[in-house]
Amino acid sequence: MKEFTPETEPENSSGHPHTDKTDAGLVPKDDRRTVGEKTVENPRMRCEHVNVYYNHGEKKAINDVSLDIGRNEVIAMIGPSGCGKSTFLRALNRMNDTIEGCRVEGRISLDDKNIYDKDVDVVPLRAQVGMVFQKPNPFPKSIYDNVAYGAKIHGLVQNSSETDELVEMSLKRAGLWEEVKDRLDQPGTGLSGGQQQRLCIARTIAVSPEVILMDEPCSALDPIATAIIEDLIDELKQEYSIAIVTHSMQQASRISQRTAYFHMGDLIEIGPTDQIFLNPLHQLTQDYITGRFG
């Protein structure tokens, strides 16, 4: 009879935290160069070597970030609190201009035109690149005026019937029309949180944007209102490019085609969303999305 190898206890590898260990095949934590494909073909927006500073250069919040935003795509921006997601998002429509002591370097172009060129007027730029905030912020006006206001300012409507049409169309696209069509004259602030957020989306859509920036648009909403917004985002990408900041990994994986992971001002990893969440390339990305100590 042949001998069997004796039963030996397999070594137990648990109980020894290796916080600085790099897992098989991953880029180690201290390598802060972006991994993944930053560019897409024929992008809507292109960011090249973007730096953003606060406090007159004292604090660097975004460090040499390059990435493209494609046409008809949803790109999710994720990362720990304070990593610079909102800062980067605001750079995309020059909202940082209003912050005293904030400076943006590098090149950010919309359809090949540098949005930081001297001849760019930020008012139409912010219509082209609209923004939806974390906290719904309807104007203290009627539902109707909330939607019509921007379009009037930008001269997108000539008369009241055109305005009526635009308001109806925008509210329909934002999936809010059926709920508010009988009370358009009532204040927007009287709507529920989820409805207010859709009102803000309708307001953004009404001025014919090319890109919609969303900074944690669902963080104050319940799962149903969130699902409605997510479904809406899915629809909207037929016509617009959408960049969304979210703290929900599940949300990012549900709605986006590409995901960018930021860490302390660096763009660490960018790539197809499926890949980022199933098989990330960088240790920092993996630690963040799996909820491990960084």
Partner: protein, 225 residues
């Protein structure tokens, strides 16, 4: 696999890991007993192996239930997601290893007690290689060690070679012994076939471990590079 901010998730993964290791050891022991039964023509031991297969099936159900529960509860990403999905797959492969041990034992029960065949040693040999592979897989799984899982994956060729050996041995012996050897000869080839299948399942487990560790579903690529 540790270091989650939520410590209870670490505990769940640790629990799943120990369940899989326990199941792998149980499968190893079933396989060992089945060939000891063959070697000694011990039909009582063979009967026990057949009966104990139920326990292996219970292990699998338990592991699958836990993995599904953790998936639903944690909605894991990246390596954690791969781990839970692969844990389910590994438990399935182990369950099939157990089935093959059971099949070997069942065959022992149907054979003539007076049988003498050189093929028996080769089958015991095959099971011995499987046991070593399983042992190494437990290490590879505990440490998510891709080198070890690749080494196990490669060993499957040894088993395949021995299977062919058993086949030709049995054919020779059948020719020498005539009709009375037919039933037992068939059983021996069937047992060797079972060991060969065990090797395939172990190879699949090696691939699963490689996938957990690297996210790469194709272990062959890793070996080429």
């Amino acid at each position: 696999m540790q270091n989650h901010i939520v410590k209870s998730f670490d505990e769940e993964i640790e629990h799943l890991k120990s369940e899989i290791i326990t199941m792998a050891k149980a499968c190893s022991s079933q396989l060992e007993k089945s060939v000891i039964a063959l070697h000694r023509m011990d039909k009582d031991l063979a009967a026990k192996v057949v009966k104990d297969d139920r326990k292996i099936n219970d292990f699998q159900r338990e592991i699958e239930d836990n993995a599904v529960r953790y998936l639903a509860k944690r909605q894991p990403m990246a390596i954690d997601l791969r781990y839970l999905l692969s844990a389910m797959k590994i438990s399935y492969e182990l369950e099939r290893v157990g089935d093959n041990a059971e099949n070997i034992a069942a065959a022992v029960r149907s054979m003539a007690e007076t049988i003498s065949s050189e093929a028996i040693d080769s089958i015991v040999d095959m099971a011995g290689i499987c046991k070593i592979m399983l042992h190494d897989l437990i290490d590879a799984f505990s440490e998510l060690d891709t080198d070890k899982s690749i080494a196990v994956w490669k060993r499957d060729t040894d088993i395949n070679a021995r299977f062919l050996q058993v086949k030709s041995l049995v054919v020779q012996e059948a020719q020498a012994n005539g009709g009375c050897f037919l039933h037992d000869g068939y059983q021996l080839i069937h047992m060797a076939r079972c060991c060969e299948r065990v090797g395939d399942h172990l190879k699949n487990i090696a691939e699963d471990i490689h996938y957990i560790a690297t996210g790469d579903p194709d272990i062959r690529q890793a070996m080429n590079s």
